[in-house]
C-alpha cells in the first residue's frame, strides 16, 4: 500500500518535473523574437544569415542587402528616428548598433517594455564572430549563432590563406566622399583600416585615427598606391576620370597608374558573416 503511494508520488514528481521542463521550453520559444527591427546593415545581414529574416518588420535606410530586405519599411535615416515610429511596428526586439541610441532613448524603450539590444561591433575577425554570436543570442538562437560563427571563422581562414600577395605591400588610401565638399579619409582604428590590413594592404594614413577631412597635401604626402572609395562616393565626385583630375591626384602612385578602386559600402565595413567576401573582393582589387 505504502509502496503504491510512494509510486504515485514518484509519478507526480516526474510529472511535475516534466511540466516544469515543458514550460521552460515554452518560455524559451516565447522568448524567441517574432517581430524584429534592425537598425544597421550589418545587423540586418546577420539576422538574414541566421535565417530569421522573415521575422523582420522594419529596418534602417542603410540595410539594402539581401535584396528582399528592400520590401521592408525604413524607420531610421542617418541615425535619426522616432521612438514612436519604431513602436508603430510593434517590435518585440530592436537591435541597434551600440551607441546609436541615447540614454534617453534606451530609457524610453525600457519604460515601454520593449527589448532593445545594443550590439557592439569590433573591426576584426574575432569581432565579426562575436558580432554574430551577440545577434544570435539576442534573437534567442545561440546554437545557430555558434554554427554561423564557426562557419564564418572557417571561411575567413580559407580566404586569408588564399589571398593574393605582391612584391610589396600596397598602400591604400580610403576616401569617404559625399560630394566634393565633404571628403574624409580613414585613419587608424577605423573599420576600413582593419579591412585593408586583412586584405593584405597597408593603410596609407598612419598619423591619426578615425575619419578626418581630406586635404590635397595629406593625399600627396601619403602617396597611396591605390585609392579606395565606396561606389556612391566615387560617383559623387563625378566618377573615376573626374577624380583623376583632382588637384594632387596625378602626383600619387595611384593617380599615375589610375588605380582608383570603387567598392560596395556595406560589404566593406560590416564585419559580420560577409567578412570573407569583403576581404577577398578588396584583396583582388588592390593586387590587380
Amino acid at each position: 500500500m505504502s509502496h503504491q503511494v510512494a509510486g504515485l508520488s514518484m509519478k507526480k514528481y516526474y510529472a511535475t518535473i516534466l511540466i516544469i521542463y515543458f514550460s521552460i521550453g515554452l518560455q524559451s520559444v516565447k522568448a524567441q523574437a517574432k517581430r524584429i527591427i534592425t537598425l544597421s546593415s550589418a545587423i540586418s545581414e546577420t539576422v538574414y544569415a541566421l535565417g530569421y529574416g522573415k521575422y523582420l518588420v522594419a529596418t534602417d535606410v542603410t540595410s539594402v542587402w539581401p535584396e528582399e530586405i528592400n520590401r521592408l519599411p525604413k524607420v531610421s535615416r542617418n541615425r535619426s528616428f522616432s521612438v514612436e515610429a519604431i513602436m508603430a511596428y510593434r517590435p518585440d526586439l530592436v537591435l541597434v548598433p551600440e551607441g546609436d541610441f541615447s540614454k534617453e532613448n534606451l530609457y524610453q524603450f525600457k519604460s515601454l517594455g520593449i527589448r532593445v539590444i545594443p550590439v557592439r561591433q569590433e573591426f576584426s575577425v574575432d569581432g565579426a564572430t562575436k558580432f554574430i554570436r551577440q545577434v544570435a543570442a539576442a534573437i534567442g538562437d545561440k546554437a545557430r549563432g555558434e554554427q554561423l560563427a564557426q562557419q564564418t571563422t572557417l571561411r575567413i581562414r580559407n580566404t586569408l590563406s588564399q589571398l593574393k600577395k605582391g612584391i610589396k605591400v600596397p598602400k591604400v588610401l580610403f576616401i569617404y566622399a559625399r560630394g566634393v565638399g565633404t571628403m574624409n579619409v580613414a585613419g587608424k582604428g577605423s573599420s576600413i583600416d582593419a579591412l585593408i590590413k586583412l586584405a593584405g594592404g597597408k593603410n596609407a594614413i598612419q598619423e591619426f585615427s578615425d575619419f578626418k577631412p581630406y586635404t590635397t597635401e595629406a593625399l600627396i604626402k601619403s602617396n597611396p598606391d591605390v585609392i579606395l572609395m565606396f561606389d556612391f562616393g566615387l560617383k559623387s565626385l563625378g566618377g573615376k576620370e573626374s577624380f583623376l583630375n583632382f588637384p594632387g591626384v596625378a602626383y600619387t602612385n595611384a593617380g599615375k597608374n589610375k588605380r582608383i578602386v570603387e567598392m560596395n559600402g556595406p560589404l566593406l565595413i560590416n564585419f559580420s558573416n560577409r567578412l570573407p567576401e569583403a576581404v577577398k573582393a578588396l584583396n583582388i582589387q588592390i593586387f590587380q
Binding site: S80, S82, A85, G99, K103, N105, Y107, Q108, S111, L112
Partner: protein, 347 residues
C-alpha cells in the same frame, strides 16, 4: 476685455494642440483610448504604467512627457525672449541671435565632450542638472557680455548688439567645432544630435529636471514687468521711481538665462521662438510687459507644441529636427521686422 479674450483664446489653443499632440503620431491610437488612458491615470498615479497594452504606454511614456517638454521649453523660450528684449530695449534681441543660446550650447558641448573624463561618477539625473547648470552659466555669461559690449552711453546700441551677437555666435561656433574634432565618434553623435534640437528624448526624468528652472522664470519674471516697462523709457526712469535698475537687470538676466540654459540642455538649440513669440504678442496685444511676459510664455508653449507636431508628422516615419520647423516659422518674421524697422535702424 481684449486681454481676457486673448488669454482665453491662447489657453484654448494650447489645450487643443495638447490634445492633438497626445492623439497623433506614428502609432495609430484611437482618440477614445487616449482619453481612457489619461483619465485612468489621473484617477490613480500619474506615473503608473497600467497594464492596458502598448498604446497606453506610448501615451504615458512617450507622448505625454514629450508634450510637457514642448510646453516647458516653449514657455521658457517665449518668456525669456520677451524679458531679454525688454532689457535690451529691442525686438531683435533674441537669445539665438545675440549669442546667448550659442554660449549655452558651447558650455553644454564642453560638458558632453569631457563628461566621462570629468564626471564619470555622476548619475544620469545629476548629469542633467550639471548640463542644465552649465548651459545656464554659459547663457548668463554671454548675456552679460553682449549687454555690456552693446552699451553706448548707458543705452543699448542695436547694431553693436547684433554685431556682438554675430561675433559671439562665430566664436562659440568655432570653439564648438574645435571640440567636435577632438571628441570621439560617440560623443560627436550626441553633440550633433543635440545641436539640431529635438524634443524626442523627452522622459519624465528630464521633464522633472526642467520644471523648476522654467517654473521660476515663468512665475518670477512677470513680477519684474513693471520695472521692464520703465526700462523701455530709460534706465534713469527706473531709478526715479525708487527701484534699483541694476538689480532688475540682474534678476531678469538670471531668470531668463536660467530658463533658456536649462531648455537648451534638455532639448538642444531651438531657434527663433524667442524672437517670433514676443513679437506676435506685441502685435496682437500691447507692449506692456505685464501683458507681454505671461502671454509670451503661453504662446511659446502653444507654438512649440504645434511645431513639434509638424516635425513629427511631416516626414513620417522619420522626424524633422524641430529647429528646422521653428526657423522656417521664425526667420520670415525676422525679415519682416528688419524691413519694417529699416529706417529706424539706419538712423
Amino acid at each position: 476685455m481684449r486681454r481676457l479674450s486673448i488669454y482665453t483664446l491662447l489657453s484654448a489653443g494650447l489645450l487643443v494642440s495638447i490634445c492633438f499632440s497626445l492623439a497623433s503620431g506614428a502609432m495609430r491610437i484611437p482618440i477614445k483610448e487616449v482619453i481612457d488612458t489619461l483619465t485612468h491615470n489621473l484617477g490613480f498615479t500619474l506615473f503608473g504604467n497600467s497594464d492596458h497594452g502598448i498604446n497606453q504606454s506610448v501615451i504615458m511614456m512617450i507622448r505625454l512627457p514629450r508634450t510637457l517638454l514642448g510646453i516647458l521649453v516653449g514657455a521658457a523660450l517665449g518668456i525669456s525672449g520677451a524679458a531679454i528684449q525688454g532689457i535690451f530695449r529691442n525686438p531683435l534681441a533674441e537669445p539665438g541671435l545675440v549669442g546667448i543660446s550659442a554660449g549655452a550650447s558651447l558650455m553644454a558641448v564642453l560638458i558632453i565632450a569631457f563628461e566621462t573624463f570629468l564626471f564619470s561618477c555622476l548619475s544620469q539625473l545629476l548629469g542633467y542638472y550639471l548640463l542644465a547648470f552649465g548651459a545656464f552659466a554659459g547663457a548668463g555669461i554671454t548675456a552679460m557680455l553682449v549687454y555690456n559690449l552693446s552699451k553706448v552711453n548707458g543705452q543699448a546700441n542695436v547694431p553693436t548688439m547684433l554685431l556682438a551677437g554675430i561675433a559671439i555666435n562665430a566664436m562659440a561656433g568655432a570653439l564648438t567645432g574645435l571640440v567636435t574634432y577632438l571628441a570621439d565618434e560617440q560623443k560627436l553623435r550626441s553633440i550633433t544630435f543635440w545641436m539640431m534640437g529635438s524634443l524626442g528624448g523627452a522622459t519624465w526624468q528630464n521633464v522633472g529636471c526642467l520644471f523648476p528652472f522654467v517654473g521660476i522664470a515663468v512665475f518670477g519674471l512677470p513680477f519684474l514687468a513693471k520695472g521692464l516697462n520703465l526700462f523701455a523709457i530709460g534706465e534713469n526712469q527706473v531709478e526715479l521711481i525708487g527701484l534699483n535698475p541694476r538689480r532688475i537687470k540682474i534678476l531678469v538676466v538670471v531668470m531668463a538665462t536660467m530658463a533658456v540654459g536649462a531648455s537648451v540642455a534638455v532639448s538642444g538649440i531651438i531657434g527663433f521662438i524667442g524672437l517670433l513669440i514676443p513679437h506676435l504678442t506685441r502685435l496682437i496685444g500691447s507692449v506692456d510687459h505685464r501683458f507681454v511676459l505671461p502671454v509670451s510664455a503661453l504662446m511659446g508653449a502653444l507654438v512649440l507644441t504645434v511645431a513639434d507636431l509638424v516635425s513629427r508628422l511631416i516626414v513620417q516615419p522619420i522626424e524633422l529636427p524641430i529647429g528646422v520647423v521653428t526657423a522656417l516659422m521664425g526667420s520670415p518674421v525676422f525679415l519682416y521686422i528688419l524691413i519694417k524697422d529699416k529706417k529706424k535702424l539706419v538712423n
